[in-house]
Amino acid sequence: MALSASTVSYQKRIARQKMIRGLLFISPAILGFFIFTLIPVITSLYYSFTNYNILQPERWVGLDNYLSLFQDDYFILSLKNTLFMVVIGLSIHLTFDLLVALLLNVKIRGISIFRTIFYLPTITPVVASAVLWLLIFNGRIGLLNSALNLVGIAPVGWLTNPDWTKPSYILMGMWAGGQTILIFLAGLQDVPTEQLESAELDGAGAIAKTWNITLPSISPVIFYLMVLNLIGYFQIFTDAWVLTSTREGGAGGPANSLLFYSMYLYQNAFQRFKMGYASSQAWVLLIIVLIATFFLFRSSGWVYYRSEDR
């Protein structure tokens, strides 16, 4: 009896010691969680119910900020532009990147060289590549219009015509999809070869094999990239800002066709110092992202997990 009691207390002491050691090691994470996440999230919710311009103390206004958000034409426009990118832009980008990865996976020669080239734009500093695309899109001397001129097509206002700015922006994003291509490619290399071979013996063609075996096998990767990019596309800022920002500090492009959610939030917070209003924008964003992610997960019945992955 006495022995077992001391064993129990010994084990308790060990457990407590482990607890202290463990918490000590993760203490930066715990502190960071409170300082940089939890407290700011709560304060942000509080600010969203106030008027606050930093210089004067904040004033409680209840739901006013949220109500005026939905009467704010710029807010509605920025939300529409962002949703366009999340739905249309993301679909185009993922489909394109997947196609490139599928082609790269056909064990062609020089695959490592192609991989290097496709990843190069991702490694390029965003500001530098946006400046470069400004030159490519330039109406007078840009590469695209020069090429069009060569085949006798009238120049396009890539960044000056509000109807063209979004396609241009999507095109620029296609160039920078190297990371997605690499992740797809890594997923493709895990597709079970036995299944592909047996399908081949059954006389399945390349398209049938891709559709029935390859795509289901990499559906977890597709889903993962959808979730990851969904959140990312709601936060678009840098490249669109560099493309459209002017000397006077404005941004958003012609007719604000490239005014995205985070850009308008930035303008309200750091150019107009409407901290309360911008906080309510941030919270609406959080709610939209949560709802979108929820529905994405709800509709993930098409994602196929191999039994060994479970």
Binding site: R21, P28, A29, V106, I123, T124, L134, N149, A186, A282
Partner: protein, 300 residues
């Protein structure tokens, strides 16, 4: 028995049937491969050409930039443009500022993530998994939500206009890299550290002498990804570096663009120079980097 032989026979006969097709199939495969290769070459050209165009434009005279048809190859490369561009803005000072921030952030990230990941993977304490899930879930939070309160917080501390808001948070860990390192630490057998622990080694000794030598590739990947991310960061410096002397290259380049909309050759020269550190790094560390991306990508 008889059933088995039957299946073997029938399956071998299907193979024979297919083998009539076999040459055709092989040829078709060859054709598909050639087609894929051709498409890749065309695509690769489109991906690489903008880089060539950057350099090409950077080496033109101001007149050549505007001539039609565009010069595909500058007849007399204007190397002086690089000099002019770095004189037009305090380029090297922006570069130095960027590297200082990068160095401090890399140190902070690597050290803090190593400690946190060790705690989350090698010390088995109660409630660890629950804590980790809470910690991991914060990765879903859009950074815009914490942006404004943090700005107000740093302002009260008097940190706006200094590099501190960009550097200090990295000393408190970064969720994605902690996750990645934790995955890595978990692959190292417990026996190794347990034996050392029995011999009276402290956690820090285990971490330093057993874990770290095995995790060098993972740590290198984290350092690399942190460097790339910090070098490119735009929003953070835009908000916090209010003093032009503190600007990073990303902010400086955007400002140069805003001020100087006509001198494309200088803008491209500055752009090309700012790409250089990344490109050089990429060519030397490609393997580590690509492994890291696919690792964090798939397992993330």
């Amino acid at each position: 028995m008889s059933v088995q032989t039957g299946t073997v026979l029938s399956s071998s006969s299907t193979i024979k049937k297919k083998s009539l097709f076999y040459l055709g199939r092989k040829k078709r495969e060859q054709l598909g491969r050639t087609l894929a290769f051709t498409i890749m070459c065309v695509l690769g050209f489109f991906y690489a050409f903008p880089f060539y165009w950057t350099l090409n434009t950077a080496l033109k005279t101001d007149k050549q930039v505007y001539t039609w048809p565009p010069t595909i190859f500058p007849p007399t490369p204007q190397w002086i443009n690089f000099q002019l561009a770095t004189d037009a803005i305090p380029f090297w000072s922006y570069m130095r500022n960027t590297f200082v921030i990068c160095a401090l952030v890399i140190i902070g990230t690597v050290v803090s993530c190593t400690l946190i990941a060790y705690g989350f993977s090698r010390i088995n304490f109660k409630g660890r998994e629950a804590l980790f899930i809470v910690y991991l879930s914060t990765i879903m939070l859009p950074s815009q939500v914490t942006l404004i309160p943090l700005y107000i917080f740093y302002r009260k501390l008097g940190w706006v206009g200094t590099i501190l808001p960009l550097v200090v948070p990295s000393y408190f860990g970064s969720v994605a890299y902690v996750f990645m390192l934790r995955q890595f630490f978990r692959t190292i057998p417990n026996e190794l550290s347990d034996a050392a622990f029995m011999d009276g080694a402290s956690d820090f000794q285990i971490l330093w002498q057993i874990m770290l030598p095995l995790c060098r590739p993972a740590l290198a990947t984290i350092a690399l990804l942190t460097f790339i991310g910090t070098y490119q960061d735009f929003l953070g410096p835009l908000i916090y570096l209010t003093n032009q002397a503190e600007w990073t290259i990303a902010i400086g380049l955007n400002m140069f663009k805003n001020m100087n909309y006509q001198d494309w050759q200088l803008m491209m020269a500055a752009s090309a120079l700012s790409m250089m550190p990344m490109l050089i790094l990429y060519f030397f560390t490609q393997r580590t980097l690509i492994q890291g991306i696919t690792l964090t990508g798939i397992k993330g």
